[in-house]
Symmetry: C2
Subunit: 189 residues, 2 copies
Amino acid sequence: MALRHAVLAALLEGELSGYQLAKAFDAGVANFWHARPQQLYAELKRLESQGLVTGREIVQHNRPNKRLFTVSPAGVEELRSFTRSASGPSAVRDDLLVKVQACDHVETGALLEELGERAELARTKVELFESLLAAMRGERSEEEHLARAERVGPYLTCLRGRAFEQGNQQWCERVMGVLRARQEGRGDG
Amino acid sequence: MALRHAVLAALLEGELSGYQLAKAFDAGVANFWHARPQQLYAELKRLESQGLVTGREIVQHNRPNKRLFTVSPAGVEELRSFTRSASGPSAVRDDLLVKVQACDHVETGALLEELGERAELARTKVELFESLLAAMRGERSEEEHLARAERVGPYLTCLRGRAFEQGNQQWCERVMGVLRARQEGRGDG
DNA sequence: TGCGACATGTAACACGTTACATGATTGA
DNA sequence: TCAATCATGTAACGTGTTACATGTCGCA
């Protein structure tokens, strides 16, 4: 049960509704985990029933009411014991890597297209992370911010997200280059 | 059902037994997917029943008999249509990132230890990928290999694996540096 | 008049993990 | 003799995904 801790960690940043949380986890701002809305609503319910988060109802007139959640002291304690426990193995799963692994046995047309899209997406995410980082550090330099700011967790995970997406972009472009060159090469040989 | 394609892609490299496949997927040589042995045995059975792989029994005298699997023409066709279809979203999930996200609210002792272990593990993996790459390209330079070799898929995914682990290592070390500096800083302030 | 954002869920199903089961050989 | 490696699975359980359900508001 690891989503539970991801949700707690996300809520440390401030009160959020299930919907807001879902956007962060689904759209991929959550560079440290990923989950669908339904899963989050279910998890929030469970966390609340266990007293790890507390929800308060916000009555709205124009929109449906919503519930904002905060991490309770028991929730923070749960995160502490999670941090002390050993980490499960990290998992990466990506269809594109599977496709590239098999690229010598299939036509590369569709693959090249997807690589292009993925590179583009990665570039967009790098920019997003860049601006998030800039907003977090404000006037300060990165070094100063990381030395003096009260909270640095989100900044640090954001750094990982940026590096990951930069790596993604570079790799996609490299693979595209190789596959294109080989396509042309076949014409000559 | 995506593991199915990861298995097919892995088997393109040559005949493997369930056990050999399991080592690749479990120990993490399979930089493009991850799976437990039980899952692989089950998947191989299903793939065989659908005619996408063919197994042949190897009778051994010193050890238990084993079955070696090859991708059938139907299996290659399955990979082709998989490549033409849209990729599902890529997922990263890592307990360490969750812990770092929450690091401002917990004691960092255990976290620093895990970051150190992870950095070490990443370094080992980088070296492993490095030697796999060297073995694949042999005498040739990377450029030459990628331009002329018959198969480049495994080389390309290996490049991604190496870059990923390098990023991992650098990030872990960066985070350790920041957290240590802040620990000391607290003593002064 | 229809679409997208807001807001929250249930139910069925697919997928992945953990625990358990078996049994021979090789090396410390 | 103890552990590790080879070699293959079953069963129960937990987690994640897909499809479905509901209803308002604001904009084009």
